[in-house]
């Protein structure tokens, strides 16, 4: 067994492990493990309907954002609006 093979084996396996670790750390950072029981129990209720719900909530958020932007634009417009003399 040569040095290079040992280095390669340790290097590759550690790298793969580190990828998993990074994924876990990302999960912790984005709050996916904040609630232990949800993490375990909620999986039972996962289904097509829940997915549709999640999409619906996303849509709602999008609509809301558009509305907020529109309002902002309008507010901007009002600011720049000069009444005609």
């Amino acid at each position: 067994m040569s040095d290079t093979i040992v280095i390669l084996m340790i290097g590759v396996s550690t790298f793969l492990g580190a990828l998993g670790l990074i994924a876990l750390l990302w999960g912790v950072k984005t709050g996916q493990f904040d609630d232990q029981s949800k993490f375990i129990d909620a999986a039972r209720f996962d289904g097509e309907e829940e997915l549709r719900d999640a999409v619906m909530m996303e849509e709602k958020k999008k609509v809301q954002k558009q509305k907020a932007e529109k309002k902002k634009r309008e507010a901007e417009k009002k600011k720049h609006y000069m009444p005609a003399d």
């Binding site: 950072k29 909530m57 709602k60 809301q64 907020a68």
Partner: protein
């Protein structure tokens, strides 16, 4: 008659009392209108899959008062206090949802909220039932959101997460990430280390060794500096305050082993110790994480106390009633209190009279009767009548606010953790650090070579630190904790055993700790035969502790009692209950009720009395008293025999306190104490040099518990009390307190023995290291041998014998 389960809440009742309904070919049963309403609502919304998800779990029956006090959620004061406005003009609130029993409930609540127009985000935490809701104020009002939650049978009240929760969550997440990194590093280094151990005995070429060393180095570096950051920070704070604590030891030990290993790696001389570096960091870190977790639980319960306090009160000015935010109430304002309302502002009663539940202040479950000019304390609950009182303090000066803020303070800067940085290890690490410094200086002076001096100096720390000290305390306390847990004593942290062993003063709460905390029938006299089911029906209509005591007595004496429905039930304040059944007139209550009705009785007793009369003739007389827990006297005697001073702290009046104290053999009594006075007394004890253990069960004991060196809570006590406590007695037996002392003292002895042994080991090994004789083989052998001895000695705690075996 058959018993059936309610279709909605699954609680089982007699078929005859159920509301029945035919749907297609199925019969539906409901225990109340509330459940029926929720069932039909869910069905029409297409949410009836909830019931398949629910399974056999029982819920609490849905209540009917959906629209009660909804307007308060739209008030300005409420908005300022709880609602946060986001950048997009959305509103955000944190709610605690009441009535959640299982994950299906969470599912239902989230689902219903998601379906409501205008709600942008709704997520509920499964563990603590806290919800975060974001909504568009232009589309939906908060009162509507609350109404929606109530309409499906739950209730919600707000809390302010900025208090503590966000900070606690942040700490938890940071620990979690650090532990993940530490565990990853340790596991991989262990694999490499096994290869190296194998190589040590069978021979390994230097170039392979180098590769493995470098791999270990790469893995150990993030563990030491990222995961171990907490210890470096702790050591730094300790250094600034001139304290040598556990963090100093871990940080200096790990860092010096790391530096030594780098040196050994680069010069290809000697063994590397990266594996011990990561092991120390990982194990101690996991222990610290458990502490952070228990702290977070305490925060959760505090929020529920704060959340249930009203934000508005009704004030009366010149006959006009108005809702005013509590912050705006001034001293001298007249406040109206309705039945069931919680008092938030202290004051003096001006008109009306009624009973008040002061259990969260005094610990006594018996309501206190108040009339004109009596003092009203915040934290108590008005039970049965409408009264007016004049505010004598503003909200921030009131008792309830000061209790909550005191508790908050005690949780955030809980004194234990610093205090308990166990002092023996502290001294020890000081000495080792000193020796290694002297060794370094000595070698440098004698040998002249900086390099050799550094290696020998570090080898002293390496050989002394990880095994001998790392295991001596944790191993013994681990065994101690597991024995305690088997006997129903939960020590939340290992270090508490040590403090408990050193304690020389035990403070006991009276009600609920020495006594059962509820009135129990001590003697019953039956003058005429009567149907006990009648009496049971009568007392079941009241929530008064005496009535409950009678009900408990009846159900334990008579196995099966049929349910009788009474008419004209009337409860008379602070006296009793009257009702009628088939032209019979039933009276149940104390002596003054019967005297009022013109019935002559013998009302001479030192206990609380309860009379039962049918048609104006007394048929039974019960004496009730709060009984002392079984074995309390013996337990207190044993504790006193250990040389521990026992005192009693109670919110009850002196007379009854003295009676109980005499019965159990306590001579030092402090009575009529308010929650913060209890805490002040504990501090007084501590100032006079006593290590104080406090045992309590109620909200009123919580501050004193948090103040004491070791707090013991009863397993069925208030949540707050349990959460601020260090030890929980699951079986609530006084004998368990004795056992807690025995176990902690035995464990402490084992810790001392272990430390003594490691001292001996160090006395031999350290001089060898100082002399520069430590080769890897001796180090490996002596380390594992010393660990084995420590483990074996700790196991001996298990043969501890208890008096009065169960």
């Amino acid at each position: 008659m058959a018993e059936v389960a309610c279709t909605h809440c699954n609680l089982v009742f007699d078929e005859s009392v159920m509301i029945t309904e035919k749907e297609n070919d199925k019969t539906l049963y409901f225990c109340c209108k509330g459940c029926q309403g929720v069932y039909h609502l869910l069905e029409s919304e297409g949410l009836d899959t909830f019931y398949t998800k629910l399974g056999d779990t029982t819920l609490q029956p849905a209540s009917n008062n959906v629209s009660e006090d909804l307007e308060k959620f739209n008030l300005e004061g409420f908005k300022n206090k709880y609602i946060k406005e986001t950048e997009d003009g959305l509103y955000e609130i944190h709610l605690i949802i009441e009535g959640i029993h299982c994950s299906a409930c969470v599912w239902l609540n989230e689902k219903v909220l998601h379906k409501t127009d205008g709600i942008i985000e709704a997520s509920i935490n499964y563990t603590n039932n806290k919800a975060k809701v974001v909504w568009d104020p232009e589309e939906v009002k908060l009162s509507h959101i609350i109404e929606t939650i109530r309409s499906i049978g739950y209730n919600a009240y707000p809390y302010d997460p900025s208090l503590q929760e966000e900070r606690a969550n942040q700490a938890k997440k940071s620990y979690y990430s650090r532990i993940l990194v530490a565990v990853f590093g340790t596991m991989n280094i262990m694999w490499i280390a096994i290869a190296k151990y194998a190589g040590y005995f069978t021979g390994m070429e230097q170039n392979f060794k180098d590769i493995l060393n470098v791999a270990e180095f790469i893995l150990a570096t993030p563990v030491l500096f990222y995961s171990g950051y907490i210890f470096f920070r702790g050591a730094y704070y300790g250094f600034r305050n001139r304290i040598v604590n556990m963090d100093t030891l871990v940080a200096s030990g790990a860092l010096s082993a790391y530096i030594y290993s780098i040196y050994a790696m680069t010069t290809q001389s000697g063994e590397v110790y990266f594996d011990s570096v990561v092991m120390i960091i990982t194990f101690v870190l996991v222990g610290k994480y458990l502490e952070v977790l228990s702290k977070k639980h305490a925060v959760d319960t505090l929020d529920s106390i704060m959340g249930s306090t009203p934000t508005e009160v009704t004030t009366v000015l010149n006959g006009i009633k108005s809702l005013v935010s509590v912050e705006n109430v001034q001293v001298g304002d007249t406040i109206e209190l309705k039945p069931g309302e919680k008092v938030v502002i202290d004051g003096v009663l001006t008109s009306g009279q009624g009973s008040f539940d002061e259990s969260s202040l005094s610990g006594e479950s018996e309501p206190v009767y108040k009339k004109k000019d009596d003092e009203i304390l915040s934290g108590s609950i008005c039970l049965d009548s409408v009264i007016h009182y004049q505010a004598s303090k503003d909200v921030s000066g009131s008792l309830l606010t000061s209790i909550v803020s005191l508790l908050e303070e005690s949780i955030t800067k809980k004194p234990h953790i610093e205090q308990l940085a166990n002092s023996i290890s502290g001294y020890f690490s000081n000495i080792i650090l000193l020796i290694s410094l002297l060794t370094f200086a000595g070698w440098y002076w004698l040998d002249g070579s900086f390099e050799t001096a550094l290696i020998v100096g570090i080898s002293v720390i390496v050989i002394a630190c990880p095994c001998a000290l790392g295991l001596a305390t944790p191993m013994a306390t681990l065994v101690g904790i597991s024995i305690a847990a088997k006997r129903g004593l939960l020590f939340k942290e290992a270090a508490f055993l040590e403090t408990m062993a050193k304690s020389d003063l035990l403070a006991l709460d009276k009600t609920g700790t020495i006594t059962e905390g509820k009135p129990t029938v001590v003697s019953a006299e039956i003058f005429e035969d009567f149907d006990p089911a009648l009496l049971l029906a009568l007392v079941s209509t009241s929530n008064h502790p005496v009535s409950k005591g009678i009900a408990r007595y009846l159900t334990s004496e008579h196995k099966t009692l049929e349910t009788i429905t009474l008419q004209n039930i009337k409860s008379i304040e602070a006296k009793g209950i009257t009702a009628s059944h088939k032209a019979q007139r039933l009276l149940g209550g104390n002596a003054s009720l019967l005297q009022e009705e013109g019935i002559g009785i013998d009302a001479d007793s030192e206990h609380s009395l309860f009379f039962f009369s049918i048609d104006d003739s007394v048929v039974a007389r019960f004496e009730l008293s709060d009984t002392i827990r079984e074995g309390a006297k013996e337990a207190i005697e044993q504790i006193q025999a250990m040389g521990i001073e026992v005192v009693m702290l109670t919110g009850d009046h002196a007379q009854s306190a003295e009676k109980v104290a005499k019965a159990v053999g306590i001579s030092s009594i402090h009575s009529r104490l308010l929650p913060q006075e209890k805490a002040a007394l504990i501090q007084e004890f501590q100032n006079s040099g006593k290590v104080t253990v406090m045992v309590g069960d109620g909200i009123n004991d919580a501050i004193a518990l948090a103040q004491s060196n070791i707090a013991i809570a009863m397993g069925r006590g208030a949540d707050v009390a349990i959460n601020v406590s260090d030890v929980v007695l699951l079986d609530e037996k006084p004998q368990s307190i004795v056992e807690a002392y025995q176990i902690s003292r035995r464990t402490y002895r084992a810790v001392k023995e272990n430390l003594g042994f490691s001292l001996l080991y160090n006395l031999i090994a350290v001089p060898l290291a100082v002399a520069g004789f430590v080769n890897p083989f001796i180090a490996a052998l002596s380390m594992s041998l010393s660990s084995l001895v420590v483990v074996g000695n700790s196991m001996r705690i298990k043969i501890l014998k208890f008096k009065g075996k169960s």
